[in-house]
Assembly symmetry: D2
């Protein structure tokens, strides 16, 4: 019973979340549009504030918000990784108490409205899928992660789940042809490489994940995660590690037998809950030691 | 004070909501995928049930759900309007008490994953925007509405709000170049025409709305609604009436002056609430009498 | 085919939604707290704006927002009905074009934090359930509706669904002891009575609904709606009509037989979708003619 | 550039999320009701499955779901911590590949409907706030965390933010009397103590947090976190560590000056985004070494 021990402050952080930023670049011909959500967290020695109510050298979260908008003025926002690096580099030295900063960014994609093959200069429609980045800056390093959020994908065949462990609570039959539906969340690490062609790489990783998702018979979500991760690491030597989090959204055959109808993989009902959740990291050999 | 008057049952309805249906059509070459959410409401004389607890001739909402899946077996689901007509035609005579049915459908669009210009046969990714339909069947008529939900669009210029009414509570300045951002919800009526090429028309209306959204200087969301509605009615004589509901999502210039920066329409912050909400119907001359 | 008919503007409205207002009344001893969300819609002849882009005499939705906060300064906000009446009375004459206004209000309830039976003067915690009001003002009348939102209730017994209509798509067995769970949404009309003790009545109606929900064997959600409505009208002669919308949230017995376990109404799983949805109005005899 | 290094599998896990469980205990007099959401994650050596598609000894997530319902049959569910311990103890040995399990539980509170001071035996209404637990089992230990979710609290006075760090991006003025509003998420650790009176302790911690929230002038959310954490550790020697995550929900004075009105802390508008986010851990001296 640890009662007599002194009480102390453990890890802390604070910052501003859901800063919604839009920038319009008014080129003569066509406008460019960037739509971001930014979250900032500061790390450091905040014991004076937490323990004694002393705000000296504590930046206000409102200042963090202002800084995002001010920095956006001179940054092209073409790559959220580089904007995040600029912000995190600034925030890690914002006050003597601060020793590090984490900046998380989500880009909400828009595409030009196109009518009869002609794209409009100033009118846009929102596209599916979101690009994310996570930048962590300490006093002597900056590490860069990129990612994908909410990429909904589905295979109508070439997926199963067979030969698994059975115990007294197992009722699920083997399946060698089921629907596999998921919402891909992926995060991959560029380590301390801060000058990569982030946009090209992001589009390449996304295409690699989509191509792999559809190119094999999937004996499990687990194995498909591994194949997608391996394909990304093999194609992109700059990536050290990739992590996937995939909900297994259950599309279940509806029982039509009471109505005298067969249902050979045609009619499904979809359930919101519960869902399977499978997570896995694929990395280079040297990674675990390093991290 | 109406105390002494008898109490009676007014309008009632009941049904099943959020029936999630997926159908896979397993053609030899490529699978087709249809992903719908269906809501059903029955109308009729349900006084026995409500007033006296007598369930005789009251269909269970579970039966409505079963019926959706059973009907999906033999319907191609290529057009949600025609599937809704089939369901509503059945439900309006499901029991002696029932005199009408409303079936609302939403199609969640998926598109084939395409890699290097080659589309996959069995792998899909979710697309943006949703197609809706609303079918109302009574004993002697069926009326068909189609619609669009959650179509996010944005113009970076060619939008303003000037010369409006000012009173003692007005602080908003005139604006002749603002961002216009909204999520288009539209509903249009085909009246009792149940054999139209619904898919072609839906795609045509959607394109007409998008084309009009971007083709003019918008002095107000109100005027843009009218122009979009008029364009649809002029292009599609089969449509009797169209209704729009558009939130005005406010993208506000961020004040960069305290930081010595100018902000000529470049840097915006986005607010979730509050938002303007503008609604309008555009219809043919004969409509109001008829409805 | 109605092609040759002129196109015209049908019904329109516009306003501001999700205006979030908090007022603190700093009494010497204890602070009072009111937390509201307000939606406003204006009705009138807006053809000049919609059809020709002429904003003359069109109030800005931003002005509506300002007005809510300015009016809150001098109104105690003790009853959302009376605040809504004040706002709607003002908005219906805000400009020569405006002929009516609808103001919808939701009160988010807070209660004082109480420690060892002593309530704190300035510290609050959010309570469950929401109070709503809807005020419609035209040039010559004001009608008042009050309501309840999101009141989650559940009965573990004294509920069933038996003897219902069966057809070829029916698989549901009769049930004479099931869980009944729902989220009550109710709206009731005070007609043009604008000087009632709205707070006392709201609390009375809420208690009457809760008391009736639990006081009988429910043969159907439909019958329970009727009983709750009838009880309210019998207890409150000022109320002309009440409407209920109740989702039937399905709590289903989990099949424990494969594990050698009986399940006599003990273990349930809860599904989010689909759900039954039952709606009904109970009113005084004279109502339908009047409305 | 780490290209030539072999690729390998890093950390993995999988399980079932959002298992919705309700149990009714049908005592003669009064029914008891327990309403839970359970998430399960398995940890272990799943390389065969991920790397080679071999499902041997891999439990299905559907089996995890069945197990939750089967175990609920014989467990009273009076304390979610003890139910979680039972589940995690079982899951950690569910197959030879599995070396550990994490079970997260949320209890959705219901309270008996009470009419005129008399509580109903079988009718309930949903209460605010949620109780959580997180149980981690490895082959040789079980650690227990309890928590609170979504406890919305607000102070109308005795809160400020002054004397903070200012730089060229700071515009926020000092405030010595503001509204402090937040949604408390707390997690505290009982270490490996699996036989505590979890229910009494949870209620005690909750009351301690609420009492501290309101008992002092808050110079910052940070300091209030520390005071709440310290109070909990001082009152409950069994607790080793507590972590808080508090969004600072901004309630901002509305500018009434343009309307000739003063606003001395009376009229506020509430914004959803952005929000401050403050996190902190308070722990006993020996903790950090141990974890």
């Amino acid at each position: 019973m640890p009662t007599s021990e002194p009480i102390r402050l453990g890890p802390t952080s604070y910052g501003k979340s859901v800063v919604r930023l839009v920038k319009v670049i008014r080129n003569a011909a066509q406008h460019e549009l960037h739509d971001l959500t930014v979250d900032i967290a500061l790390h450091g020695d905040f014991a004076g504030c937490f323990e004694r109510g002393d705000n000296t050298s504590m930046p206000a979260t409102d200042t963090l918000r202002n800084t995002v908008y001010a920095f956006a003025k001179h940054h092209p926002l073409d790559e959220i990784e580089s904007f995040g690096i600029a912000l995190a580099s600034h925030f890690r030295t914002i006050s003597p108490l601060v020793t590090g900063a984490t900046v998380s960014l989500t880009e909400h994609p828009w595409e030009r409205i196109s009518i009869n093959g002609q794209s409009r200069d100033h009118a846009f429609t929102r596209a599916a899928g979101e690009r994310t980045a996570n930048i962590r800056a300490t006093s002597d390093s900056i590490t860069v992660e990129a990612g994908i959020d909410s990429l909904l994908v589905l295979k109508t065949t070439a997926s199963g789940w067979e030969g698994f462990h059975r115990d007294q609570y197992t009722t699920l039959p083997d399946a060698n042809d089921r629907i596999l539906a998921t919402s891909i969340t992926a995060r991959w690490s560029y380590g301390q490489q801060t000058n990569l062609p982030f946009g090209d790489m992001w589009r390449g990783v996304r295409e690699c994940i989509l191509a792999t998702f559809g190119d094999h018979y999937s004996p499990s979500v687990q194995h498909t995660i591994y194949r997608m991760g391996r394909a990304v690491l093999e194609s992109f030597p700059q990536i050290e590690r990739i992590h996937f989090s995939l909900p297994n959204k259950h599309y279940l055959l509806y029982n039509l037998a009471p109505f005298g109808l067969e249902n050979p993989g045609e009619i499904f009902h979809v359930t919101s809950d519960p869902f399977g959740l499978i997570e896995g990291t694929i990395e280079r050999q040297s990674e675990r030691a390093r991290v």
